[in-house]
Symmetry: C2
Subunit: 105 residues, 2 copies
């Protein structure tokens, strides 16, 4: 079951543009103050770094990801989630646009 | 005065990806059912086609645009809006990411 919409949010009109536009996201704030982002990663292999811990939820497309200390690429498809600790680099490899919700904390 | 947030909306988690990712947008639905989108266009010169009439509101960055029947490129900066009739092609030229709200109808 994928999350197609997030209701009752305030959406930031300005996007965050990472890696020359290979990753684009918009911040959303829920009614209770919780912050998330919705975004898309275009075909590329990229290394991200978390600040706060993150949970990446795939809503369309797919990606492969590799966490620190692992040599294994794992696949994330619509409805799948994976967690990254805070202040941690991780790799994402995308061959079809990967649409995601990023949950923080 | 730029619109930094749109409040009390339902945001689509899946982006629309146009022109191989040169234009990325997320749909939002307001409490009264009005639909808009928030998006970004990366450096490129692109020809869009409207369905419904659109008003493009710049929230960050800038673009030049050219409407049908005109040979003149006009600049749109944060806080500026321009209108395009329905079923009409128009050109956008971007040299720094152009962040926008698209108002329909």
């Amino acid at each position: 079951m994928t999350t197609t919409h997030i209701d009752q949010v305030s959406v930031s009109t300005q996007a965050s543009v990472y890696f020359d536009g290979k990753c684009i996201s918009h911040g959303v704030t829920l009614a209770d103050g919780t912050k998330k982002s919705v975004g898309v990663i275009l075909p590329a292999t990229l290394t991200f770094n978390t600040g706060a811990p993150e949970v990446m939820e795939c809503v369309a497309g797919s990606c492969d990801y590799k966490l620190p200390g692992s040599e294994v690429w794992l696949k994330s498809k619509p409805g799948d989630k994976f967690s990254i600790p805070g202040n941690t680099p991780f790799d994402i490899r995308v061959t079809e646009p990967y649409h995601y919700i990023c949950h923080f904390g």
